[in-house]
């Protein structure tokens, strides 16, 4: 796959100085579309930011030679292998574009007899949308959670230091998160004076991370729009998760501790 893209790109580079032929255009389109789709569907910031720029520039400087740039930058997104090289090329392109030596069409179907296809139109719509009001284009920022910091207290207890921080970033009650953590770990624990979570037993940060991941998928993320901007409320014994973004509501399972075997030695 990557090889193919490379080959195609090289071909484009060879063709670039000449008059842009139809064949070339079509190839570009083929490469460009999935990337745009990706940018729209995925929530990653990295892939979002570049296409936004493309959209803006390509629509501002309409009749200049700009058509090559999106493909280049999209390649950048896809594979960051020869990033530096691509960057240079982009710079060259921009210079060319500013001088306006080569005139090219704004959209790939202009100037040719063929009909536009759905994906191209979709891309156009999103470009315009990003240009005029970027907040509607569906570019979401990603909430980043810091990894859990874990200390060992003695040999048998584990202290979860940034427990409160993580609860705040998730917008969840510490009680609820604690209940879930303790139920999953199958131990007992409590909050100490500095609002850290002290858990009985030895646990690695990775363990906490895995459980928090599950907690987030179960109790934080909205199923409809995947946004973490949700509110957990309790209505007559049932927990409901309401999304602030899309307004959808769902019920979530209550936390059950389940069976806990008796591990400590029995007192006679």
């Amino acid at each position: 796959m990557a090889d193919e893209i490379n080959e195609i790109r090289e071909e484009q580079e060879q063709l670039a100085p000449f008059d842009p032929s139809k064949k070339k255009k079509k190839k570009k389109v083929v490469i460009q579309e999935p990337v745009e789709d990706l940018a729209e569907s995925s929530q990653t910031e990295k892939s979002d930011s570049l296409p936004v720029n493309d959209g803006l520039e390509s629509s501002f400087t309409g009749m200049k030679k700009k058509k090559k740039k999106p493909t280049e930058s999209s390649l950048l997104n896809n594979e960051s292998v020869d990033a530096g090289e691509d960057l240079d090329e982009i710079a060259n392109d921009e210079q060319e574009g500013e001088e306006g030596i080569v005139l090219q069409q704004r959209y790939p179907w202009e100037g040719s007899e063929r009909d536009y296809i759905y994906d191209e139109l979709l891309g156009r719509v999103f470009n315009i949308l990003r240009e005029n009001n970027p907040e509607l284009a569906g570019d979401r920022r990603r909430t980043v959670m810091r990894p859990p910091q874990v200390l060992r207290e003695g040999t048998k207890k584990t202290v979860f230091v940034n427990f409160m921080d993580l609860c705040k970033t998730m917008h969840r009650q510490p009680d609820h998160v604690m209940q879930y953590l303790l139920a999953e770990l199958g131990t007992s624990g409590s909050l100490d004076g500095q609002q850290r979570l002290v858990v009985k037993g030895r646990f690695a940060p990775k363990n906490f991370e895995g459980i928090l991941r599950r907690y987030i998928t179960d109790y934080v993320i909205c199923l409809g729009c995947k946004s973490p901007d949700t509110i957990l409320s309790k209505e007559n014994r049932l927990f409901f998760l309401r999304c602030e973004k899309c307004g959808s509501q769902r019920s979530v399972a209550p936390i059950k501790t389940g069976f806990v075997a008796r591990v400590s030695r029995r007192k006679t």
């Binding site: 139920a183 999953e184 770990l185 199958g186 131990t187 037993g201 030895r202 646990f203 690695a204 990775k206 363990n207 906490f208 895995g210 459980i211 019920s251 979530v252 399972a253 209550p254 389940g258 069976f259 806990v260 075997a261 591990v263």
Partner: protein, 112 residues
Amino acid sequence: MVELDIQIPSAYDPFAEAKDSDAPGAKENIHIRIQQRNGKKSLTTVQGLKKEYSYERILKDLKKDFCCNGNVVQDKELGKIIQLQGDQRKKVSQFLVQTGIAKKDQIKIHGF
């Protein structure tokens, strides 16, 4: 006139859909948990197997397969529970799926 053909539901089970979906409380899951003991030792508990199965026979196979000891514990609220020595969570879920005791989506593995 507008003719409405209203279908009056006769023998319709309103919970038929809910049973198929994985809404909370609709389906009995099998919970496989792990519990830490002293040192690096741990304990695996299997909760929620169907009552039709003979726990003793399942346990016997589990013990033989994983080369570990274990027993069946009777809990007041949760019924019978299989306990196994060591971290056998993945192996237990694999075993339950292979023997057809449970489907993969019914099994819930807890713990870290």
